[in-house]
């Protein structure tokens, strides 16, 4: 099919590229909705088994153990062309899944931190996380119906965001809006502006 195939064990880069983008933010802020709005594959969960204790065979507590050994990972794909894709991963909300973030964040182009103006503080952990690791991120303010409209400057001050970090007002249920957030992120991550 015209693809270069490398020999086993060699490091030749295949002629294909998958770009990873993370969608983060507090519980109920719209991460799953955002991935679903833009992804070409749906429903788009993959169940991740928490691995550190094996795969559940040591657990004897039945159903309950099962619910504690899996976490749903939002997973979406946008095909740019054959061999070039964007992958969106919604980060698991709960604190106990922080270790999964490291894995997800590794090699990511950048992240969208979704914020809800009614509880801005919920996105502090995500902002901290990406700032500390130097991962480029933009803040998407998901404008829920009935939520007070905020000026981006207010959000910036409330979150203590540096001037250069883009803030985008968005409605994650709308495709065009999600698209704008993603183009802002890609440009910021690649061009630094």
């Amino acid at each position: 099919m015209g693809y270069a195939v490398s020999e086993p064990g060699t490091t030749r880069a295949p002629s294909a590229l998958a770009i990873k983008i993370l969608i983060a933010g507090g519980f109920g802020v719209g991460k799953t909705t955002m991935v679903g709005t833009i992804s070409e594959i749906r429903p788009l969960h993959t169940e991740e088994l928490l691995s550190d204790r094996g795969i559940g065979v040591d657990d004897t507590s039945g159903v309950e153990s099962k619910t504690t050994t899996t976490v749903a990972l939002d997973f979406g794909r946008i095909t740019i062309r054959d061999g070039l894709w964007l992958y969106l991963f919604g980060t698991p909300g709960q604190d106990r899944f922080w270790f999964m973030w490291d894995e997800l964040a590794l090699g990511a182009l950048g992240a969208v931190v979704l914020a809800d103006t009614r509880r801005l503080q919920d996105c502090f952990p995500a902002v901290d996380y990406f700032e500390q690791r130097g991962i480029p991120f933009v803040v998407g303010v998901n404008c829920f119906d009935g939520a007070r409209r905020y000026e981006p400057g207010k959000v910036r001050r409330a979150l203590g965001l540096a001037e250069h970090i883009p803030i985008v007002m968005c409605d994650v249920r709308r495709r065009a809006s999600v698209r704008d957030v993603l183009t802002t992120l890609v440009t910021y991550a690649v061009k630094g502006a």
Binding site: Y3, K66, Y87
Partner: protein
């Protein structure tokens, strides 16, 4: 493999021998997997292994392999590590993301997004 009954966990255990981590060098969730051409498939492959080899004749990211197999990503990674050890697939090594996106790819991504 919906996790509705105890069967799937047993099945998953069979696929991985209970290992949580893949063999060899670690690889990313979106690392590209390619089936190594021209090797005759061993006759004793598990169905999941066969499915990977067939899918990855076209370069396919790890996460997509998991989605196709309907298996958790960790399990998929163990399977992929085994297939790599056996020389049946190659898995792209981690690259700094900045190096992978040149001006042309950047333009392609922006145009692609805008046309959605």
């Amino acid at each position: 493999m919906t996790g509705e009954d105890p069967g799937p966990l047993i099945r998953l255990y069979g696929l991985t021998g209970g290992r949580a981590r893949p063999q060899g060098e670690s690889f990313d969730l979106v690392a590209i997997v390619v089936t190594v051409g021209d090797l005759p498939q061993p006759s004793d492959l598990l169905p999941e292994h066969r499915a990977v080899l067939s899918l990855c004749r076209r370069p396919t990211p790890v996460a997509d392999v998991a989605a196709h197999l309907r298996l958790p990503i960790n399990i998929t990674r163990v399977i992929l590590g085994d297939l790599r050890r056996d020389g049946l697939i190659s898995i792209e090594r981690p690259r700094p993301v900045a190096q992978t996106i040149d001006e042309r790819i950047y333009r392609e991504v922006l145009d692609g997004l805008r046309s959605l």
